[in-house]
């Protein structure tokens, strides 16, 4: 079990996938909160502090890109790493997402649970020393 406790917010409209993500991340020792869309995620980000945001790209209402924009420019959470996942393929401009919103990593569905847990661990581990 991982001893790096971290607070993760998952923004994902696909409830089935969100559930299994929560299950695996909790199993890896993280505190996980789920939001079913971008708007709910913004509310949760205002209400509590998170060490990592995992967001889907395509969501109703506020999508992944808009959520990232809000995180950086409205909520000023400039140091919180963002991990984005998407079922989209080539039409996503990965470089632009990275440069504009500092998206740390982009995973395409279907992704491996082990891969996403490991990515979350790495991103939080990289962040903790910075904060200290």
């Amino acid at each position: 079990m991982n001893n790096l406790a971290g607070n993760i917010l998952i923004a994902e409209d696909n409830g089935v996938l969100s559930d299994v993500l929560c299950f695996n991340l909790r199993n890896a020792g993280f505190d996980v909160t789920a939001a079913e869309n971008g708007l709910v995620a913004i509310e949760k980000l205002r209400a509590a502090a998170f060490d990592l945001l995992i967001t889907d790209y395509q969501m109703p209402g506020v999508d992944g890109a808009e959520l990232c924009k809000a995180v950086r420019s409205e909520l000023h959470l400039n140091h919180m790493p963002i991990l984005m996942c998407s079922a989209k393929g080539l039409e996503i401009n990965v470089e632009k997402l990275k440069s504009d919103f500092g998206v740390a990593k982009l995973l395409f569905k279907p992704f491996s649970m082990r891969e996403i847990v490991s990515a979350a661990q790495n991103l939080i581990a990289a962040r903790v020393p910075n904060l200290n």
């Binding site: 299994v20 109703p60 279907p110 491996s112």
Partner: protein, 479 residues
């Protein structure tokens, strides 16, 4: 071999006659002198002998004159032929005389006239066919669907066809003569972006580019082509501009792209879920029995979703090839509706919506394709659930009248705008409303349901208002 008299040369014939009359006159004169001398009356009759000889010579002169007259007439006309005649044999006159020269001459004229008539006829036919060709090409030029402008080497318009005028909204083809094609394009398409530099236009090399006529794809897309036509001296003599309306093609491309995008998303989402749950089950050792069961059920549901989408794709593939067929059998409607509701259950459970159903008291048995009608109803109901937000209402009503059965599916959902309503049953069409875009859908379901209704001699009618909701009605004949 017999040689006709008129084949002798004229001079010999004239000499022959002249000599004949001269000798005859001399012979008559000498004979009369001898006779009168013998009779001893020469003195009294000398005058008479001389007069008779002179008379004979005079007669010879008249005959000669007559012989020459025909030839003079021919000679005169031959002179006219050489000086004036340019193939017009009307100036040649046939001769009334019946001698051999006149007959020959008349025969020559007749032949000449025959030949000239033929030549005139040939020339007229040539003229007619050339003019006919021109008219034919002109008709073809104006009948072409591609807009064509023929320009001089400076790109100034010489002529345009009807399609060109229609595309650019010109009142008449003549008003643009002398103008530049680029200038016309700039006038009719605001904010035109050709995507090529002006230097390309001035070069002699051909180019092709696409031009969007408006903000939206449906406003129009033109393919512009400029082809310089090189003459024998290797110079650009004329430049041909063509404009082809490729809007339909572009829209079909976009629909296909939309489909590929949707299909990718629709395939990846259940696949991602299956992979995530299967991996979790395989790699996590301490999952409770309840969780395990739940995970297996999710995998099962997602696999069903995947297979339904593949079925939908196959159905559409069949629709595309016109190969959708129905196999009708006696069907218990009550059982069919139960199947529909059972199938819809997972979707209904996912959303907090009010679902109302009201079926007619006694439902008849109908001859229909059970699987296809079930799929069509699941589709219509599934759409109502999908496009109605939480707390909304979805109603499913089944009514009967004397001749038809009506399946009404009502919702208080997003609704469809009046502009998009006519397009909703197009294959791959999805609303541009961002609320619709964020919900997965193939844009195939309604097209399929409509085809199923049609094959059952039924129809699907739609009433909808944006932000208020929609009512889809599947009507099938009872008999």
């Amino acid at each position: 071999m017999h040689t006709p008299a008129y084949t002798l040369p004229l001079s010999r014939r004239l000499l022959g006659r002249y000599l004949m009359f001269g000798l005859a006159g001399l012979f008559v004169c000498i004979s009369m002198i001898i006779v009168f001398n013998y009779l001893g009356t020469l003195k009294e009759h000398l005058v008479f002998a001389v007069a008779a000889s002179l008379g004979l010579l005079l007669l010879g002169a008249v005959v000669l004159q007559r012989s020459v007259r025909v030839n003079q007439a021919i000679e005169e006309q031959l002179r006219q032929i050489s000086s004036v005649l340019a193939g017009d044999t009307r100036v040649l006159q046939p001769l009334a005389e019946s001698d051999s020269a006149a007959i020959g001459w008349n025969s020559v004229i007749q032949q000449l006239r025959g030949q000239q008539h033929q030549a005139t006829l040939e020339a007229r036919l040539c003229d007619l066919s050339a003019a006919g060709d021109d008219r034919q090409w002109n008709r073809i030029f104006h009948a072409l669907h591609e807009g064509i402008a023929v320009c001089d080497s400076n790109d100034s318009i010489l002529t345009v066809n009807n399609a060109f005028s229609a595309l650019l909204g010109l009142n008449s083809a003549t008003e643009v003569v002398g103008k530049k094609v680029l200038q016309l394009l700039e006038e009719s398409v605001s904010g035109m972006q050709l995507g090529v530099s002006k230097s390309v236009l001035n070069s002699s090399s051909p180019f092709v580019c696409e031009l969007r006529v408006g903000k939206h794809l449906a406003d129009g897309v033109w393919r512009i082509n400029r082809t310089p036509v090189i003459d024998q001296a290797c110079e650009t003599s004329i430049t041909l501009w063509t404009i082809r309306d490729i809007t339909q093609q572009k829209m079909a491309d976009e629909m296909r792209n939309q489909f590929v995008f949707t299909a990718t998303h629709e395939l990846r989402t259940p696949l991602a879920n299956i992979k995530a749950y299967a991996e979790t089950l395989a790699q996590t050792s301490d999952i409770g029995i309840e969780d395990q069961k739940r995970f297996y059920n999710i995998i099962n549901n997602e696999a069903t979703r995947l297979s339904r989408f593949v079925d939908e794709l196959l159905d559409v593939n069949q629709m595309e090839s016109g190969a959708v067929t129905i196999t009708c059998g006696e069907t218990d409607l009550e059982r069919l509706l139960n199947d529909v509701m059972e199938n819809l259950k997972p979707q209904l459970q996912q959303k907090e919506q009010l679902f109302e159903k009201h079926f007619a008291a006694k439902l008849p048995s109908l001859r229909l394709d059970k699987d296809k009608i079930t799929a069509a109803l699941i589709n219509l109901l599934g759409n109502a659930v999908k496009y109605t937000p939480e707390k909304g209402t979805v109603r499913f009503l089944v009514e009967l009248d004397d001749t038809n059965i009506h399946f009404h599916i009502e919702d208080t959902g997003i609704g469809i705008s009046a502009e998009e309503l006519p397009r909703i049953s197009e294959k791959f069409f999805r609303s541009s409303d961002s609320r619709v875009q964020s919900i997965v859908g193939s844009g195939l379901g309604l097209a399929f349901s409509q085809e199923v209704a049609r094959l059952h001699r039924g129809r699907i009618s739609v009433k909808s208002e944006i932000n208020k909701g929609s009512r889809f009605t599947l009507t099938l004949p009872l008999s």
